[in-house]
Symmetry: C2
């Protein structure tokens, strides 16, 4: 089956199922037996298998100037949910640089080759990258097209301003990066406090690391709570932040100003 055919049924869905079936029958069993002596899997693997999980495609949109953790947080907690296949999509396939310019992730697919996805995830970005995407009519058309048939359309951080610019948030409750809240109104959304905000099939998360919390919730909806709880353990998400300055309600004015300065100074 060609990649372009399989996108019509979700990204690579058929191909993935085939490989998973083969792995479970042969490679998987051998791998499990051999792996019992291996460091990453020290414990017993006789766990209940979530059977009959349908294939679910997750498309993470990358664009020049996106924020790495916005994309990687949700990826990391969704990629191991049974049946889920995550792919990265950008204007064209290949390396896409983050807001600092110091890191690049590879987009596996080009927008033109991906017409559907069960889950669309739009990460936030630095100022320049976010603004460019808020003004990118081609990207908006692609987002609306995928959204039409998606099960979930989601964003992290300033990604909600991009969803809003594509016309998806008119009159709807949403959240965004803490410093960008005033801009939600400009794209027609109603700022609503929350680590993430769910409205119909749209979920918008707060800034950067909030994508991990949203991702775990999404894992529970794509599978079940047992899987989401197991994924929280799989990424050892037992957070112990050194300070209590993770939101503007908790951080003083000086910390807020310094955070914005660090963001501006690190932007390319």
């Amino acid at each position: 089956m060609s990649e372009s055919t399989s996108t019509e049924r979700g990204i690579g869905a058929g191909r993935r199922r085939l490989l998973r079936g083969a792995a479970a029958g042969t490679l998987g069993a051998a791998g499990l037996a051999a792996a019992s002596d291996h460091p990453a899997y020290a414990a017993d693997r006789d766990a209940p298998a979530p059977d009959g999980a349908a294939s679910v495609s997750v498309a993470v949109l990358l664009y020049d100037g996106f924020t790495a953790l916005d994309a990687v947080g949700p990826y990391e907690v969704l990629c191991r949910v049974p049946g889920v296949r995550v792919t990265t999509v950008a204007r064209k396939a290949g390396p896409v640089r983050t807001d600092t310019g110091e890191l690049a992730l590879v987009a596996e697919r080009a927008m033109g080759d991906v017409t559907r996805a069960d889950v669309l995830l739009v990460p936030g970005g630095g100022n320049r990258g976010t603004v460019a995407m808020m003004e990118d009519a081609d990207a908006h058309r692609w987002i609306r097209r995928v959204h039409r048939h998606s099960t979930w359309t989601t964003s992290v951080c300033t990604g909600s301003l991009i969803l809003g610019s594509a016309g998806l948030l008119r009159g709807l409750p949403a959240t965004t990066y803490w410093a960008s809240r005033p801009y939600l109104e400009k794209v027609g959304a109603v700022y609503t406090p929350g680590r993430f905000v769910e409205t119909g099939k749209i979920i918008t998360a707060a800034g950067v690391s909030a994508g991990i919390d949203m991702g775990l919730y999404l894992a529970s909806r794509l599978s079940d709570e047992k899987v989401a709880q197991a994924m929280q353990l799989a990424v050892e998400y037992d957070p112990d932040p050194p300070y209590d300055t993770g939101s503007p309600e908790k951080a003083d004015a000086e910390t807020q100003a310094l955070a914005l300065k660090l963001l501006a100074d690190s932007a390319r």
Copy 2:
């Protein structure tokens, strides 16, 4: 100045300083003024500037089968610390695939071109990737070489088993991925509970998301607590996990077994 020359003084240190100087004088000021109307920076930017920050190079080691969040969590909280420059290093420069095979990050530099770094960070990986790195004598030589002059040598998740295999943890307290704790002893380390464990200039973090907590602590050591607090806000790290299953002490046996099964099934 050539890249290879600048590595002798830390990764691209001189070049970076030059660019930063230019930005502060011209582009930076213009950017700040223009940015005040932009969505990612809605608030006031008149923050105290941490002056005279020396250039600090952070090298994140990538290898086939690494875990994305292990690398990206610390990157995201270190990359905006004044004077810090993060780069990614692998056997050769170019795309490096994660443990699921679904995502690739780009290594900016090849091991052979990087002889020093102020901070070395070794992420964990899936079973296959971790084992391969535990047996990779070339990688061990490189790690030891960088460690010799580093200010900090750090790991996330099973990255500590790689540091240990390189001979860096003999008789030292360390932590690792929850399911891999028994293997620390095999590389000569003494398992010690903690979100991260500091011993001399070595810091080992627990699994995957623990790299964010360690990264913020490291930010405070590379700069100061005000900057680390600002970075916690910059990534809006005000975690609100949906469950309380993020460590084996909190998750029941069924959840642990399911987590290990999801990891095994998602490994390529």
